[in-house]
């Protein structure tokens, strides 16, 4: 710091002056290009251009480091004085994302001009990512040569992050995320991407059966006048009908009969399994204070049938809420262009992998609930994924290193740069 005044910009050793200037310039240039290009979303070219680009980038990085590692610029870029402003610049962009809702069209002129609602696809974001990759690459090589096991944790963390940034950036244009609407007993081989464009797939899917397993519905007590849920000691009174008797608010409830799938017949409900059948229950409600007992039916209703509330007295009613899904799954038959034919079930958290595609269960016709004959699947093709995973596992190992070895004992004074 003592000779800071006499040192010219860019000369060794760098201070935060150089580091901050570069980071600020990158952000400024990035936002300027973004504004000038009219807010169009930037895309990196797909295969094989991204692969070529990646190889050229890696080559340049290794080459520059090999020949100029003593040069003040390379030394400077490999120091914390460049790293901190870069990390802060990146943090600044992420903070913007933290405040501006992402992936929606915004009407705010500033947000539109600088692409703030699609930040990950803007110039400043991509440029600062590129800069971080350069820094991470240099700092990795700097601590890798000469090799020293003490630097293993350092390598895992920095190279792991490098790999994740590198492969997600290059892979973003090769990744396909498509949504497919499957109707029961129909064969579908088309899907739509996020922009709504229809894509023909190298495979077809026939939905054999869509199935929802529901939790038992919950009941609650509402005020007849306001229709609001009654609270007891400040807690909403919601109870699941998975037991035969329980207390709810000041009442005791006994369930005489529960029908998971039913239709109304006269004043009562009977078992029925038809589209639109809904859960219902016959209950006996006792008021312990005045010992009055009333009994009646409640039902949550469906897209066909209206719900049935049970009036307890002139103030309160018992109502059944719509059942919530416990799990939903689709039994499907997949035919691939390569000649495979597979019968399988996809479920939330249990996707299926075939020919480089992963098939996820995402949604259904929520209006119809368990009677939905539509299953919405997501199909993902992401050839760069293995590289991302390697990066993730390196960083996990790096985290374990941090945890085990802790802060360097000398406080970092050994390799100050």
């Amino acid at each position: 710091m003592s000779n800071e005044k006499g040192r010219k910009f860019g000369q060794h050793p760098w201070s935060y002056r150089e580091g901050s200037t570069i980071s600020a310039a990158i952000l400024l240039i990035g936002f300027s290009i973004q504004a000038a290009s009219g807010g169009t979303v930037l895309l990196i070219a797909g295969f094989p251009w991204n692969l070529i680009l990646g190889v050229v980038f890696l080559g340049l990085l290794v080459f520059s480091f090999y020949f100029w590692q003593k040069h003040p610029v390379i030394k400077g870029l490999g120091s914390v004085k460049a790293a901190l402003p870069a990390i802060l610049g990146f943090t600044f962009l992420i903070l913007l994302m933290g405040f501006v809702k992402q992936d929606v069209e915004s009407r705010n002129a500033l947000v539109k001009l600088f692409g703030l609602s699609h930040l990950v696809k803007t110039w400043p974001f991509i440029l600062i990512n590129l800069y971080l990759m350069i820094l991470l690459g240099i700092v990795t090589m700097k601590r890798l040569i000469p090799y020293n096991f003490k630097n293993a944790g350092f390598f895992l963390n920095h190279f792991g992050l490098f790999l994740i940034l590198f492969s997600t950036a290059l892979g973003s244009s090769d990744m396909q995320r498509l949504s497919m609407n499957c109707n029961e007993n129909q064969i579908e081989h088309r899907a739509v991407d996020v922009s709504g464009k229809v894509v023909e797939l190298p495979l077809s899917i026939k939905l054999l059966d869509f199935n929802i397993d529901e939790f038992r519905p919950k009941v609650t007590i509402v005020d007849n006048k306001t229709n609001e849920i009654v609270q007891n000691r400040g807690i909403d009174q919601l109870e699941m009908l998975d037991r035969d008797s329980f207390d709810i608010a000041q009442y005791h409830l006994k369930m005489e009969q529960f029908l998971a799938s039913s239709e109304k017949a006269g004043d009562a409900y009977i078992k029925a399994i038809e589209p639109g059948s809904a859960p219902s229950a016959k209950v006996v409600v006792t008021n312990p204070t005045d010992h009055t007992r009333v009994s009646g039916w409640i039902s949550s209703g469906s897209y066909v049938n209206s719900p049935e509330a049970f009036r307890l007295n002139e103030y309160y009613s018992l109502v059944m809420l719509p059942a919530e899904p416990r799990k939903f799954s689709s039994r499907i038959n997949i035919q691939t262009k390569s000649g495979k034919s597979v019968m399988t079930t996809v479920e939330v958290n249990k996707p299926f992998h075939i020919d480089g595609w992963t098939i996820y269960q995402t949604s259904y016709n929520t209006e119809m609930g368990r009677w939905s004959e539509l299953s919405i699947l997501e199909l993902v093709h992401d050839p760069w994924l293995p590289l991302v995973y390697i990066g993730i596992f390196l960083m996990m190992a790096g985290a374990v290193f941090l945890f085990v070895s802790g802060k360097p004992k000398n406080g970092g004074t050994e390799h100050v740069a």
Binding site: L238, D247, P325, V388, G406, G412
Partner: protein, 269 residues
């Protein structure tokens, strides 16, 4: 217990824990006697144990891990903070740190007393995954560690230390940050692997993810700053204090930010 909403009993458990912890803090701060300190340690353990009993009964009662709603996660923060305070006392004998973390743990319980929980047994399909428990526990542990490190920063900002007296506390802050940061990293990466399995993409910049990432970045700044400027203690403590503010947004604030509507992570309350 049949048919009983466990949260109705929460005030009893919370009051016992708070009384134990108040007594423990009082003993820790007022006396230097060994016996008194041992009693204080015992009391703070008793408070934590009592809360763990409540969590266990709640877990059995709602038939799913109590890690979904904001109120449920506050219970875990209270357990971890008081636990970390006690362990760090046993390990390093920092009495003020136990008292601070017990104080913070009490704040979480008091918030829960003022915002009673709803009673919910359902867990949406995406959350029914073997990743769920490790992901949440790792995060909560990380946040509790980082929270504890920030207490040190706040203390040092108010009770201006000398070069000599700051050595111990700042070492402790470093240890907690390295520990907390490594867990936060694991939490983010577990989350990424899980998201890939459940939603088809490892990172979607969902508001909660974004804010967890921002928190991570600030502690990353602290680590690099400390590495390069090992003797600039005051500035390092300022970075740590700012990081804590970010961490608090991540804990509480995200749900209220305009950017956070429709997040899978926004807890139902």
């Amino acid at each position: 217990m049949e048919g009983q909403n466990m949260w109705l009993d929460f005030p009893i458990y919370a009051s016992v824990a708070i009384v134990c912890w108040l007594a423990a803090s009082g003993l820790f701060l007022s006396s230097g006697k060994k016996l008194m300190n041992q009693m204080a340690a015992g009391l703070s353990f008793a408070g934590t144990a009592f809360l763990l009993v409540f969590i266990t009964i709640l877990w059995v009662n709602i038939q799913r891990p109590p890690m979904r709603t904001l109120g449920e996660t506050r219970l875990w923060y209270a357990v971890f903070l008081s636990g970390i305070g006690l362990v760090s006392y046993l390990r390093w004998k920092y009495k003020w740190l136990v008292s601070y973390s017990l104080g913070l743990a009490m704040v979480f319980l008091i918030i829960n007393l003022n915002h009673p929980e709803t009673y919910d047994k359902t867990l949406m399909p995406a959350l029914q995954s073997p990743w769920f428990i490790p992901h949440v526990i790792v995060y909560i542990f990380a946040y509790a560690m980082l929270g504890a490190s920030s207490l040190i920063a706040l203390r040092n900002l108010f009770f201006v230390p000398t070069e000599r007296t700051i050595k111990g506390p700042i070492q402790m802050a470093d240890n907690l940050v390295y520990l907390g940061f490594s867990f936060l990293t694991l939490g983010l990466l577990f989350g990424a692997l899980w998201a890939k399995e459940a939603w088809g993409h490892y990172w979607t910049w969902d508001p909660k993810e974004t804010w967890a990432f921002i928190t991570w970045m600030f502690y990353l700044v602290y680590i690099h700053y400390r590495f390069r400027h090992p003797s600039e203690h005051k500035k390092a403590m300022a970075v740590l204090a700012v990081s804590f503010a970010i961490l608090l947004i991540c804990w509480f604030g995200v749900n209220y930010l305009p950017s956070a509507q429709n997040s899978v992570h926004v807890y139902s309350e």
